[in-house]
Amino acid sequence: MTSGARTSGRLGVALAVVIFAACLLASLALGPVSLSPLKLAHYLMAGPGGSAPGSIIFWQIRLPRVLLAFLVGAALSVAGVILQDLFLNPLTDPYVTGVSSGAALGATFGIVLHLAALPWMTILALIGGFATLAVVWIAARRRGKIDIYVLLLAGVTISYLVTAVIAVLMIRAGEDMDAIVYWLLGSFSGRSWPEVKVALFALPFMIVPLFFAKEMDILLQGEKRALELGVDVERAKRVLLVTAAVLTAVAVSVSGIIGFVGLVVPHIVRLLVGPSHMRLVPIALLGGAALMGIADLLSRTMLAPAEIPVGVVTTFVGAPLFVYLLRRGRA
């Protein structure tokens, strides 16, 4: 395998931006209701106030939904990169830390207590996510250091525990059980600007890993080697774990649990442009956003006006792509 076969860094970023833009355009232009590009441009110029159905659809339903899908896809992908490279385990996804199940538990409480109005649901989900992170964090602390291995086990264990608690709540919830089930099932349906505002909160956290790109590269050799080369490993772990947790909690709180993207996009991007984080993080960000956008586009268009759960589509889109790249063979 020669290095020439790998897309070079600059080319990679450029390509990613192009793909990102194309997917963004497609997501905005296509949908169950077709909007011609001319109309699209017109609506964009005219601004959000318009009363034509097309304008309403564009400004109130499609645009925020697409932005949300892109933000969530980006957040989950960056979280996936961070966690895969901290745990040095290719099967890691953003949900292993238990944050997602904690967020789900928070949302479940919200539903059961009839606090389903948006700010409450998000707040409870975020509280739930951080509460589980705190539990898992404390469990993993050994002599002032975070034992990544223990963190992984604790996260998975807490996930199972919390899922069981949610199941109990569901059974006792009676008629609210449906609401809980639907919330857990990841979806962008019915989401609009309020959710986008929450998701924007994750944007600065997506940039954080870029400030630790060198440290993350060195950490690929293991924590001990990184210490020997001068990296303040504990500090890097703390910052990166919290970042991944925020990204995951925010994503889950606005759109439920959507699998596969956070696991597979980092691998796909690594196969294409290599593991160096200055390239990997921004391209995974763009790639995850684009993938989630396309997945949502397909989920709302393929069987319109019915919608397919977006988690199913991400798997159907991402898995073949991933297998193809694996077979093409990259070290």
Binding site: P53, R62, R191, S192
Partner: protein
Amino acid sequence: MSTTRSRRGLAAIILLSVLIAAVLGALALSGCGSSSASAGEASPDAFASSGPVTVTDDSGATVTLAQPAQKVVSLAPADTEIAYAIGGGSKMVGGTSYDDYPAEARSLPKVGDFASPSVEKIVALQPDLVLAAGGIQAGLRSKLEKLGMQVFVVDPTTYDGVMADITRLGQLMGLEAPATKVVGDMTRAKATVQARVATLDRPATFIEVYSKPLMTAGGKTFIDDLVTLAGGSNIGTQAGDGFPNFSSEVLVKDNPAVYVAMAGAQSSPGAIAERPGYSGLAAVKDGKVFVLDDDLIARPGPRLAQGLEQLAAMIHPEASPAP
């Protein structure tokens, strides 16, 4: 990730997950609505109050009792309502945790929730007849039948189907006369509504079963039948049968004149009107956004008649008596 073996192993795992996801996806796509079976028929030799009874239920199975049921357990709130409505309250020995109508039903011994009823508790009550809904698991049904109980499934897809179920249950419980009366009331309600709306236009109507994700009642559901009977045109059928997710964009495009949300979705007309994209809907502009108690249109029982009347009043207020 650098060895061929780990790469292949990973590929194998991905393929397996895709397969499982495909299966799950297919199941999810088939919707969560009840699959309707062919409507059953009343057996010609069903006697009035004694002697053997045989009916076919909504799942197509034959239900036979040597004599009308004396002890009945219900596994669905709708079935409980029907049983009480036809006067069978004294025969009820057990119900679910969700039974809330009529009030007496709340004091029935509970056999668990409909998702996972306790077989032991059911057996302990020694019923001869168990009333179930469409989603009952095959394993549970055969277990109950092996233990000597008969299971009657109520899973209608139309208003008429509900009435047929009420009739059949009347036979099974030896309460034909009261059942006939209930059915008669329902028939009259239906006829009245139909008469009112017969000559009127059919406004585009949307039934919201759930808000996030947006979910509606599609074809082959009795809710859909109610909308048609009430003089509306259910736009949800475009999305298929059962209870599919519905695109908000198509909602805006189709611009329903009437928007009815089920109360379980925790909505109010004001909140609904403020949802993104809803401001342009005819239903919102004309103030025709309503919230309906789901028990009146989601439970296949006698109160469906009330649901029908309320629905008609929402869709065609001009033809309905003042509230």
